[in-house]
């Protein structure tokens, strides 16, 4: 059976894809629902082998695991799908977080009301950065985006009005939704919100992949000059890629501020950008599930194994070098377009 053969060859991606295709729509609905169900139960699984000695398991699931997955998905649109190297992704995370912190402490808006504002501001920032930066080639784009990330952090550091080096404290938690309370001691509610955000993001990316935007991004990644000659408005779609990625980062930031209740510039360093990049690269650039898996592993392991935690950045750096040298496609390589297109023909014509 093909699935077994694929598994034997270590080809996780194709065996997963095979299994999904062979299943009828009803079977797929059941699979998807049970998968989501299991994921939702994750906060209850923090015992035994999975337990994290350093911090509370529930808290870990939200940050770093959940947030890293979310941000890695966002960065994946930029780096994985469009082939644009962004080393300043943390800036959007910071913008979302600071928006929440500032509006939360100075106005009566709650987290849910700030969320769209945070996302919008992050997207605008993405546009502002993208307009000059996206005209540049790969390595220059990388440096400029890196610079942007640092500028945001340093500006926050030097601006007394928004806390300077001390940051902003007493950021309000989100208001309860019915019986579900958001608190520091019990982070389950936060986790479920992150989970919903992740699912929304996955839905959005999958949908766009088989439409014009996804094609444009792929074409840009593979051969930007030819893409333009074939009529793809490359600047527009690169800007979209940047903005969407930024918006996702901003969303994560808003929730993060609401969770940690106190934010400071030192939380938004270049290291975070690199960490998220490592998740994307290690997991499989361009592949949603690869990125989810990669982010989960890289975010979770330092919490589980103390010695990795101390050398966390070193491990991530090694992950980058080793992955690029030995398995440049990452854990779960980019899904073969053959499968995506064949599947989508069913969706589109229905």
């Amino acid at each position: 059976m093909k699935i077994i053969d694929n598994l034997k060859n270590g080809n996780l991606r194709d065996s997963g894809a095979e299994f999904w295709e062979k299943s009828s729509p009803t079977k797929r609905k059941i699979l998807a629902t049970s998968f989501i169900g299991v994921a939702a139960l994750a906060p209850f699984m923090g015992f035994g082998l999975l337990d994290t000695p350093i911090s509370d398991f529930g808290a870990v699931l939200v940050y770093p695991v959940g947030m890293f997955i979310l941000m890695a998905l966002g960065l994946n649109i930029v780096v994985g799908k469009s082939g644009l190297l962004d080393l300043g992704y943390v800036a959007f995370f910071a913008i979302g977080a600071y928006t929440m912190a500032i509006l939360g402490t100075r106005t009566s808006l709650n987290t849910w009301e700030v969320m769209p504002i945070g996302i919008a501001l992050a997207m605008i920032a993405g546009l502002i950065l993208g307009l000059p930066a996206l005209r540049l080639r790969g390595d220059y784009l990388a440096i400029v985006t890196l610079g942007f990330g640092e500028i945001v952090r340093i500006s926050a550091l030097n601006t007394r009005e928004i806390g300077g080096p001390n940051g902003i404290a007493n950021v309000p938690t989100p208001p309860s939704i019915g019986p579900i309370k958001f608190s520091l001691n019990d982070q389950k509610a936060y986790f479920w919100v992150v989970l919903i955000m992740i699912l929304l993001t996955i839905w959005m990316i999958r949908r766009l992949s088989v439409r014009r935007a996804g094609r444009a991004w792929e074409a840009i990644r593979q051969d930007e000059d030819v893409a333009e000659l074939m009529g793809v408005h490359t600047l527009k779609y690169k800007l979209w890629s940047f903005s969407l990625g930024a918006g996702i980062g901003g969303a994560a930031g808003v929730l993060y501020a609401s969770k940690t209740l106190f934010i400071a510039p030192e939380m938004f360093t270049l290291n975070v950008s690199i960490l998220i990049l490592a998740c994307v690269v290690f997991g499989g650039m361009g592949n949603i599930w690869g990125v989810v898996l990669g982010a989960s592993i890289l975010a979770y392991l330092p919490e589980r194994i103390r010695f990795i935690s101390d050398a966390r950045l070193l491990v991530f750096g090694l992950a980058l070098v080793i992955t690029m040298n030995f398995r440049p496609d990452g854990l779960l390589p980019r899904k073969k377009r053959e499968k995506i297109v064949a599947n989508s023909s069913r969706e589109v014509t229905s």
Binding site: P132, I154, L314, G317, L318, M324
Partner: protein, 285 residues
């Protein structure tokens, strides 16, 4: 130089520099036993210290550079991987190097005991020139001339230029590509090592992340002058240094790196080829 040959930025340059600074301190403090630091060393010992540290720093940086090339670039280059992957690999090795040093030094700065008192030698227009500054300038000028001559007249220099102009033709002419690329990295490393020595001499301390800000400034200088062009780099370095100082005095030192970044973005957007160099925008069909 690395850019000229590989058409890619050497991200790990900052770490190559950083290792040079540590080498300087280790040679001066541990091998030569200069721990006192209260006044200038007697001339013979001073000359010995400077020579050994300078050479040692250059060698260490050169070796680290070759190591970086072997680990981060070579394998991917052989496979013809895309630029993005190579870039990421370079970033990875850069992190591995700086983090390793951070762990070794426990994130604390390391001090370089003083070997040379920073006496002022002379003044021009109210600006006083300290002895270490003068030394740095003289050596930079000498090094620049040496490098320029080397690249223009020596056999290896010609090979490097050939590869930077047309890799395939160079290979057909019998140039050993691997050797040339390693040599380019080595030379770049030697330069960084020299810079590292003078940095440590002047500022008398170093830290695992010392390379970052400087690396950024170096890159900006190269871009201003026109990347891929050695003379441009010289000019760029000079002008950036001046701008930095003026900006610091007007805006305050906290904003220094932001200023550098903004200059970088402005140059890249407005005059991407810098003053002397080649275009950095998307290569055209």
């Amino acid at each position: 130089m690395v850019y000229g040959v590989l058409r890619m930025i050497n991200f790990a340059n900052s770490e190559i520099f950083m290792f040079g600074t540590f080498a300087t301190i280790i040679i001066s403090r541990d091998f030569l036993g200069n721990v006192d630091g209260s006044k200038s060393l007697p001339l013979p010992k001073l000359i010995l210290t400077i020579t050994l540290c300078l050479v040692g720093s250059m060698i260490v940086s050169g070796l680290v550079a070759v190591f970086v090339e072997l680990v981060a670039y070579r394998r991917l280059r052989a496979r013809g991987t895309n630029k993005l992957a190579t870039l990421i690999s370079a970033i990875g090795i850069s992190i591995v190097l700086s983090e390793s040093m951070r762990i070794i030094t426990h994130s604390r700065p390391t001090l370089n005991p003083r070997v040379l008192e920073k006496k002022s030698l002379f003044e021009i227009a109210g600006a006083s020139f300290r002895i270490d500054t003068v030394l740095t300038i003289i050596f930079a000028a000498v090094l620049f001339v040496v490098l320029d001559r080397f690249v223009t007249y020596s056999r290896l220099g010609r090979a490097i230029r050939a590869v930077s102009m047309n890799e395939d033709a160079a290979k057909l002419m019998g140039v050993d590509l691997n050797k040339v690329i390693s040599a380019t990295f080595l030379i770049g490393g030697l330069m960084s090592g020299a810079a590292a020595f003078f940095y440590t001499l002047t500022y008398e301390n170093t830290k695992f992340n010392v390379g970052f800000t400087l690396g950024l400034a170096a890159f900006t200088a190269a871009v201003i002058g026109g990347i891929g062009n050695i003379r441009g780099a010289f000019f760029g370095g000079l002008s950036l240094g001046l701008v930095e100082v003026y900006a610091s005095s007007i805006l305050g030192t906290e904003w220094k790196s932001v200023t550098v970044f903004i200059i970088l973005v402005l140059v890249l957007v407005l005059k991407p080829s810098g003053i002397f160099g080649e275009a950095v925008q998307q290569t055209r069909a």
